[in-house]
């Protein structure tokens, strides 16, 4: 499996090209081709999951080729536990999203081609080990995302799309500046992340500080951390279902992934310095703030979007603690949030497809109209509110445990969100699914087989990981321990200019 990561990353792109070559009028063929195009990556992902050596925290399956020698840009792909879990999440969600997109009628070819391109971008981000390559993949996702929201989105899609685009770009340009500064901080100049990590102890404190902040803002916009989050509700509300799923399920993770992949090992000193305010306090605030905002929403999707903000707060908080529990919890939360929120968005999409609106007050009693649907809703909602036995509980409790060691007041504040989360989740459940049946929606059909197939795997993952979290936890345990050590043990450089 020499080209494992490369094939995994670029097979969807190949699929996109095939899709573009298909006849325009045969939508069914396009749909199925796209679905098939996501499968090889999924299989490779599963193979990777199986064959990844879980006992070590080092990079595996590394591929390294020279790309632009003049600029010392290389093509380096490789995975450690952190990347594997995210790759896995991506390849799992992609086929489901394609399946969930079968209802798209307009510009089918374009939609699926863009989706597959997006998948390549996402996989590339998680596999790239050269900063320049990373950046290119990072930006590669912007375009498809812009169009997927902008063309296939809701009524205010243009606004949402451009807002998403601009916000992300602001982060990107800051990242670009920091990346180039880092490039010049090393002699010989390099973008090789592994080398950059090795040299981490030689970067001066001041340089680390501002570069960290610049990168952090870039990543924080993606997470999205307060106060860079306002693009998220808009983007989610307007995006088509599958795109919301990808957005919440994978794209948000890139922010936290980036922090762990770049900020932590390359700027350990700055991480130490800023972890509290930038990550822990902000994360904690995200948790509570997102939950409170979610409570005030009237649109189901926007509620779920704010719940994402809240849940991503756990990730930030957990990773800030640098404790094994906190960091493992954070990464596990990334994975779990990916599956749980994917379910939530798929479920909201189901009702939107039928009723063509998402107003929480506009429904009622769907439980008796669509019992199977309600079953999945219940699983997803209770997973989202952190019910023990379901996956999100594990990660949240780990994060909270880690946080307690780090700062008790933060842990208590964060833990208080369990009440708020339960509040808005149940409140929505009550108003939409319970109560007297709304006469308008008596005749809504229950889930179709296609919808069940998209939801069931996620539900299974949610339950299985609640009982046996080590299936995923083991992947990144050693990686995170090493990462935590790097950051904890970082010491300032003595009398040595990092920038030449």
């Amino acid at each position: 499996m020499e080209y494992l990561l490369t094939s995994m990353t670029f097979l969807p792109l190949l699929g996109a090209l095939v899709v573009l070559a298909l006849p325009r009028d045969n939508a069914t063929l396009v749909r199925w081709t796209s679905l098939v195009a996501t499968v090889p990556s999924l299989l490779l992902g599963l193979w990777l999951f199986e064959n990844f050596d879980r006992s070590v925290g080092t990079m595996q399956f590394v591929e390294r080729y020279s790309w632009i020698p003049a600029f010392n840009v290389q093509y380096i792909m490789g995975v450690d536990g952190l990347s594997v879990s995210m790759l896995l999440l991506t390849v799992l969600l992609s086929p489901l999203c394609v399946l969930a997109s079968f209802g798209i009628e307009k510009g089918v070819k374009g939609y699926f081609a863009l989706f597959l391109l997006l998948e390549t971008g996402m996989l590339g981000v998680f596999a790239a080990l050269d900063f320049f390559l990373f950046f290119i993949f990072w930006e590669l996702m912007l375009l498809p995302m812009y169009f997927l929201i902008g063309i296939w989105g809701g009524p205010r899609r243009e606004y949402a799309a451009i807002k998403f685009f601009l916000y992300t770009l602001i982060g990107s340009v800051l990242m670009l500046v920091a990346m180039l500064a880092l490039y010049f901080a090393n002699t010989p100049h390099t973008f090789d992340m592994l080398v950059l990590m090795e040299r981490a102890p030689t970067y001066a404190r001041g340089f680390q500080a501002w570069a960290w902040i610049a990168l952090f803002i870039g990543f924080a916009i993606k997470i999205p951390a307060f106060p860079f989050h306002t693009w998220l509700p808009d983007a989610h509300v307007e995006a088509p279902t599958a795109i919301s799923v990808i957005l919440a399920g994978v794209l948000l993770k890139m922010g936290t992934y980036g922090i762990l992949r770049v900020c932590y090992p390359i700027f350990p000193l700055a991480t130490q310095q800023y972890a509290f305010w930038a990550l822990a306090a902000l994360g904690c605030w995200n948790i509570v703030y997102g939950a409170l905002c979610a409570m005030a929403q009237k649109d189901m999707k926007s509620l779920v979007a704010y719940s994402s903000i809240s849940h991503m707060g756990y990730v930030m908080l957990g990773m800030a603690t640098l404790t094994p529990q906190g960091m493992n919890g954070a990464v596990l939360q990334m994975f779990n949030h990916g599956t749980v929120t994917a379910m939530l968005f798929l479920l909201v999409g189901v009702i939107y497809d039928r009723a063509h609106h998402r107003n929480i007050d506009g429904f009622g009693g769907l439980a008796s109209v669509m019992p199977v649907y309600t079953g999945f809703v219940t699983i997803a909602f209770f997973a989202a509110l952190g019910l023990p036995g379901l996956s999100a509980f594990i990660s949240e409790v780990l994060v909270l445990l880690g946080t307690w060691q780090y700062s008790q007041p933060l842990a208590i504040t964060a833990a208080s969100a369990v009440v708020l989360t339960a509040g808005y989740m149940l409140w929505m459940l009550q108003r939409v699914w319970l109560g007297p049946v709304n006469e308008k929606y008596v005749a809504l059909p229950d889930l179709s087989w296609r919808e069940i197939v998209t939801l069931a795997p996620l539900a299974v993952i949610v339950i299985v990981l609640g009982v046996y979290p080590h299936a995923v936890l083991d992947l990144f345990g050693p990686t995170l321990v090493a990462l935590g050590d790097t950051v904890s043990s970082a010491a300032p450089v003595v009398a040595q200019a990092a920038l030449r």
Binding site: I162, C293, A296, Q325, Q405, W433, G435, P436, V467, P469
Partner: protein
């Protein structure tokens, strides 16, 4: 010991099958199939629990511990948690009660829910509840217990809102879950504090059987100047108040009566609400080290017992009376725990499970017979129509009133005795409560079973609405004749009544010549906690005297109820007019606690939420994007805000940039002279800046 897991897993399997395939089974194989399957799982679980219990009995008292490790669960850093179950005397007792009473209620449910189309769901949820409760009880560490702890909350939510088409039911369900969550939050905090303190001491563990050994290490550990163990236990106790409906988190329990009656019996009387009691007993090694917490528990318990009893006096809903009575009885248990008498608390838990379950089921039987009428003022005279129900109900009422030799007498008396030893004032409160209990319970009996039938009588306007018409579908059936319920309903009643009659005999104190088997059985568990069970022989006379007093008080309460409600020689109005009716109104309106909570906490949170939602939409969107309020004001004055929001200028920054762009466009007048101006101004400006 591989079998223990099946105590837990069988109900889970039952739940999984019934919840996923149940509706098909019910459609193809009939309602009975679902019920039999569900009940069968519960019974099987009970059977295994019995074998486990038997197995324990064969062991030496000190080694009565069976552990079944199922799966390593969480191993991160110092945290090492497995999914494991343990059977020791305490958890065995609980498991027996839970699965035993649970099985009976399963059977009862088949009779009670005879008209409900979603029987499969009901049985599925009951099974799921059993699973969760048994996990709570049998879990060998705090985290597994927490799984059950929240799991029962989930089931409680689902079952209270079982008839989800009624908005009130779902509201009650949510309320229950949220109040439980508040407790869970505290529980979580306590757990984390405990874990990290122990971890810091080099003994990171949350496993119960190890805690006993490491607990003494906590001595002298401080956090924020307070002993850690006190903080831990207080936090855990707050968790317990949520689950076990104690002040200040009790308010959900009465509302929870919106659920079907078997649910009230199972969850909100016999099992789930006692989880707090079980938890405190389970962790007695910690609680015993925290005298402050014990005091808090005792006082809270006593206050809850008294307060709930006073509220129960005036309620008209048959189930609400029982609900407040439950709250009150749980208060008793906490008094016992607060006094360090864990065994006594658990003993009362067990007896209470029998008689309260029986009472609820009896009430259910009545409600069922009266076509879902729950207002006692519309009942009466059912004694003859439903003899079996009446007798079982009466036995249980006598048990709860503490009349010897029924179960309640022994357990309550032991608590009172321990309370007296600890602090006579506690005993006093307990005694008053006992009297009130006897009064309102017999008030219920008299109103429901004696006198003339008042079915169809009009009730005052201020009747309690929240539970009055639990179930709209069944209105309009009033004209039917009331008759005794089916065997599926009466059989459990009888069995439970027998329990209510005899369960107390397990713990006849030595003062009455008994051997107090129950305390002895639990002794190995509580030995580590240092519970004193050296009987004070010199206080024997005192003990007799106290027993007599409490029996007299109970009889007094019964007599008063008789005078007011049966003989009517005393008018209830006389009492309600005491002190201008203030006490009556307070009691009738449950001290307005709901209203206060709603007005402060809930309204505050919602207001904050709305404010932040607005803030997020307006201010953050504005500020983040770098434009101050002034810019917005300008945009607004310019009449541009609409265009701006609607027409999709990305955000306020865009607006600023756009304005700048607009301004720059104005410079581009198209007049060539002006262009040359700009050129020259540019040059001159640069020259001036550079030359000087």
């Amino acid at each position: 010991m591989q079998a223990i897991r099946w105590i837990v897993l069988l109900p889970l399997i039952g739940a999984a099958i019934n919840l996923t395939l149940g509706s098909r089974i019910q459609r193809s194989a009939g309602r009975a199939a679902v019920a039999v399957f569900g009940s069968g799982m519960a019974l099987a679980s009970f059977a295994i629990a019995v074998t486990g219990f038997m197995r324990l009995r064969t062991l030496e008292p000190e080694s009565r511990l069976l552990v079944d490790t199922v799966l390593p669960w969480l191993h991160v850093g110092t945290l090492d948690i497995s999914i494991a179950f343990q059977l020791d005397p305490l958890s065995a007792v609980m498991a027996l009660v839970v699965s035993g009473v649970g099985s009976l209620i399963h059977i009862y449910s088949y009779g009670y829910m005879d008209e409900d189309p979603a029987l499969w769901r009901f049985f599925g949820l009951l099974n799921l509840f059993l699973f969760a409760m048994l996990t709570l009880v049998l879990g060998d560490n705090i985290l597994v217990m927490f799984v059950g702890w929240e799991g029962v909350g989930l089931c409680s939510w689902a079952l209270i809102g079982f008839w989800y088409k009624d908005h009130a039911n779902t509201a009650a369900a949510n309320k229950a879950f949220l109040f439980n969550r508040i407790g869970d939050f505290a529980f979580l905090c306590g757990m984390m504090l405990l874990f990290w303190t122990l971890s810091g001491l080099g003994h990171a563990t949350l496993v119960f059987r190890e805690l006993g050994a490491v607990a003494p290490l906590l001595e002298g550990q401080l956090l924020w100047g307070v002993p850690v163990v006190t903080l831990v236990t207080l936090a855990l106790f707050i968790g317990a108040t949520g689950k076990s409906a104690q002040i200040p988190l009790y308010v959900w329990l009465p509302d929870a009566m919106a659920g079907p009656t078997p649910v009230s019996a199972l969850i909100h009387a016999a099992t789930m609400v006692t989880a707090g009691v079980y938890m405190v007993s389970r962790l007695h090694c910690l609680f015993s080290m925290a005298p402050v917490t014990l005091d808090v528990i005792a006082v809270t318990g006593a206050a809850t017992a008294l307060m709930a009893a006073t509220i129960a006096l005036t309620q008209n809903d048959i189930k609400k009376v029982l609900a407040y009575s439950t709250v009150s009885q749980l208060g008793y248990m906490f008094v016992a725990l607060g006094c360090g008498a864990y065994a006594a608390g658990v003993f009362h838990l067990v007896t209470h499970a029998f008689f309260k379950a029986c009472l609820f089921l009896g009430a259910g039987s009545v409600i069922h017979a009266c076509h879902h009428e729950q207002d006692m003022r519309r009942m009466g005279g059912l004694r003859t129509k439903m003899p079996l129900t009446f007798w079982t109900f009466l036995i249980s009422t006598m048990a709860i009133a503490g009349l010897p030799p029924l179960a309640g007498f022994f357990s309550k008396d032991e608590i009172l005795w321990k309370a007296f030893q600890r602090e006579p004032l506690l005993w006093g409160v307990g005694l008053v409560t006992a009297g009130l209990t006897a009064f309102y319970m017999f008030r219920q009996v008299f109103l429901v079973f004696f006198g003339e039938s008042r079915a169809g009588a009009s009730v005052e306007a201020h009747a309690d609405h929240s539970a009055a018409g639990a179930h709209d579908d069944h209105h309009g059936h009033h004209a039917h004749e009331v008759h005794e319920s089916a065997a599926a309903i009466t059989l459990p009643l009888v069995l439970l009544a027998i329990g209510a009659l005899t369960a107390g005999w397990l713990g006849i104190p030595s003062a009455l010549g008994g051997s107090n088997l129950f305390t002895e059985w639990l002794a190995p568990v509580f030995a580590a906690g240092g519970e004193h069970h050296a009987e004070a022989h010199e206080g024997l006379e005192l003990e007799y005297a106290l027993m007599a007093v409490s029996v007299l008080v109970a009889l007094g309460g019964i007599t008063l109820a008789y005078l007011v409600y049966l003989r009517k020689s005393l008018s209830a109005d006389t009492f309600s007019r005491i002190a201008r009716g203030v006490p009556y109104r307070l009691s009738f309106n449950k001290y307005y606690v709901d209203e206060i909570y709603y007005g402060t906490v809930l309204a505050g949170t919602l207001a904050l939420s709305r404010a932040l939602g607005w803030f997020d939409k307006v201010v953050i969107d504005g500020v983040v994007n770098g434009a101050a309020a002034s810019v917005r004001a300008v945009a607004f004055l310019g009449g541009g805000i609409d265009k701006f929001v609607v027409d999709g200028l990305v955000n306020f920054t865009a607006h600023v940039f756009d304005s700048a762009g607009g301004a720059l466009r104005l410079v581009q007048t198209g007049n060539i002279n002006a262009y040359v101006y700009v050129l020259l101004i540019g040059v001159t400006a640069v020259l001036m800046a550079g030359a000087w």
